[in-house]
């Protein structure tokens, strides 16, 4: 059995080792000093003999001299030993204090560093990076925690790749279905027109039906062309080319061709300026406007208002159409979502993509049978 001590056991063992060693060392030091002091004080007995002497002979004087020297030496030694004991015990205690703090910091680091690693790894997982793998080292509990974390991240990685594959397959299926449907729609009238032309080729009616059939074929080829363009536009990854312009004047230009057929009212701040890609701006406004036209009853007014509020320009496009249900409101910016008869559901998805590229925001407020308002918020440009 492979035994690995846990955090608490390690800390307790280290603590006991350190402090017991410290106590033993300090105790041994003081015992040693006490013994030396005891030995030194033995010499003090000479002091009593000294008092009994009279200094009449040279021998007595020599003895007295010896006794006094010994006595004074002992006093000096005792003082020095006392001083040594005071100084060295302070130094030893200080070094032990520093060492224990140092060891504590190391242990603390050993415990907290893997926790920090785990925290960072969890943050990576949160960001969607499941490939994160922690080195399986450290003390028992930390090692086990890392092992669990690694198996969890591996499991999540597997699940994510399975989900991605499933999602990819689903997207391709959906895309193929939409594409097939959208291509089939114009192909049928083209096929019918060609069949009709073949049938009537050598008859008198041929001349009558020829222009109409050619027009249908041309129309449907145009539709196919537009379909290809829509897909291409959506797939294109274009970086915005920012320029500063007046949104009121720009919208005024955009709605000009519509004005002879539809009632579009533009109002609001005429002097504000925004920093936006003009081509993207055109695509966003035309897409939303086209949707508003498609859902509005004839002769119904479509309102476009421009406001400046708290450093932002708000462009509101409001129609009085059928409105969007709460459920559908969540999906309108998803690709291939459309409730229109003629639509592939890429218009608003493209709008959302362009809004993001230009660092703007879009909100939709809608009420069934009353209408919908698209609200575009972008930063006002102050010269």
């Amino acid at each position: 059995m492979n035994f690995r001590p846990g955090i608490r056991a390690s800390v307790i063992v280290l603590f006991l080792c350190l402090y017991l060693t410290s106590l033993i060392v300090i105790n041994a030091f003081f015992v040693n000093k006490q013994n030396i002091t005891k030995d030194s004080f033995k010499n003090l007995e000479f002091d009593q003999q000294f008092s009994a002497l009279n200094f009449q002979t040279e021998t007595d004087t020599t003895k007295a001299m010896k006794l006094l020297t010994d006595f004074n030496e002992t006093v000096a030694r005792t003082k020095m030993i006392q001083n040594e004991a005071q100084i060295y015990s302070a130094v030893v205690l200080f070094i032990l204090m520093i060492a224990s703090i140092f060891i504590f910091i190391i242990i603390f680091y050993k415990i907290t560093r893997p926790l920090k690693e785990l925290q960072l790894a969890t943050a990576k997982i949160k960001e969607g990076d499941f490939s994160v793998h922690l080195p399986e080292n450290g003390i028992k509990e930390i090692k086990e925690l890392k092992q669990s974390f690694n198996s969890m991240s591996m499991e999540l990685d597997n699940i994510q790749s399975k989900l991605l594959n499933a999602e990819k397959e689903m997207i391709w299926k959906e895309f193929s279905r939409i594409l097939a449907h959208e291509i089939k729609n114009p192909l049928t009238p083209i096929q019918l027109s060609i069949q009709r032309l073949e049938e009537k080729y050598e008859t008198k009616k041929f001349k009558e039906i020829f222009p109409e059939s050619v027009q249908i074929i041309n129309q449907e080829i145009n539709n196919l062309h537009n379909l290809a363009k829509s897909f291409s536009n959506f797939a294109k990854k274009t970086e915005p080319e920012f320029s500063v312009f007046n949104p009121f004047s720009s919208i005024e230009e955009i709605i000009k061709p519509y004005l002879h057929k539809y009632k579009i009212v533009l109002s609001g701040n005429k002097d504000c300026k925004i920093k936006f890609d003009p081509v993207h701006f055109y695509q966003i406004i035309t897409n939303i406007l086209q949707n508003a036209i498609d859902v509005s009853p004839p002769d119904e007014i479509i309102k476009i208002e421009i406001e400046q509020k708290a450093g932002k320009i708000i462009i509101k496009i409001t129609d009085n159409g059928i409105g969007i249900s709460e459920e559908n409101l969540k999906k309108i910016f998803e690709p291939y979502f459309s409730k229109k008869k003629k639509g592939i559901g890429l218009g608003l998805a493209l709008v959302m993509k362009l809004i993001d590229l230009n660092l703007a925001e879009i909100n939709v407020i809608s009420e069934l049978k009353k209408g919908t308002t698209f609200e575009i918020k972008c930063k006002s440009f102050e010269s």
Partner: protein
């Protein structure tokens, strides 16, 4: 250089330990201001050790052992090798007659005193007469230290620097001498 750094670290650790964990005072030995004067074409540097022999020294002096106080003099003249000399002040106690014999090496003077205050004054004063190369600008430094002594026959050495908290008092001064003073 490494030795000097090590001694500084050791001294720092001891000072910090004493400050935090010990009630031992020792002696905060230091030099008074270094004064220079011209005497008989020599430059005499005068200074004095202060607060050097107040605590615990009396019993050490009375141990009967010869106690030496060493002084290192360094004189640096720009662009030249520094001049270095070491001299000492010695104290020897006679236990029977109860007086201290003092020898001041730099002046080659011997004296006797039975008073500890006089003794402190005698051994603290430094009067070093310099007769070597001279210059208008000289950097003079004097460092003092104490030796290790044996107080019995056990062979154990007692470091007297302990009484100075392991700090060597040092004084350094740039001395400017006018040409007409020579």
């Amino acid at each position: 250089m490494f030795q000097s750094l090590l001694s500084k670290v050791v001294s720092g650790v001891i000072s910090l330990s004493m400050m935090l964990l010990s009630s031992y005072e020792g002696n905060n030995a230091a030099f008074s201001e270094l004064v220079s004067l011209i005497f008989q074409k020599n430059i005499v540097f005068k200074t004095q050790l202060v607060e050097a022999f107040e605590n615990d020294f009396e019993s050490v002096f009375k141990s009967g052992k010869q106690i030496d106080i060493f002084f290192d003099v360094h004189i640096r003249i720009q662009g030249r090798e520094p001049f270095t000399e070491t001299f000492k002040h010695s104290v020897l106690f006679d236990p029977l007659k109860q007086y201290y014999s003092v020898y001041i090496q730099e002046t080659d003077e011997e004296s006797k005193t039975d008073n500890i205050v006089d003794l402190r004054n005698l051994i603290s004063k430094v009067e070093y007469s310099y007769s070597g190369r001279r210059s208008a600008e000289m950097i003079v430094s004097i460092t003092s230290y104490l030796p290790k002594i044996q107080l019995d026959d056990s062979g154990k050495n007692y470091d007297l620097m302990m009484l100075w908290n392991f700090k060597k008092p040092k004084i350094k001064k740039t001395v400017l001498i006018k040409e007409n003073e020579f």
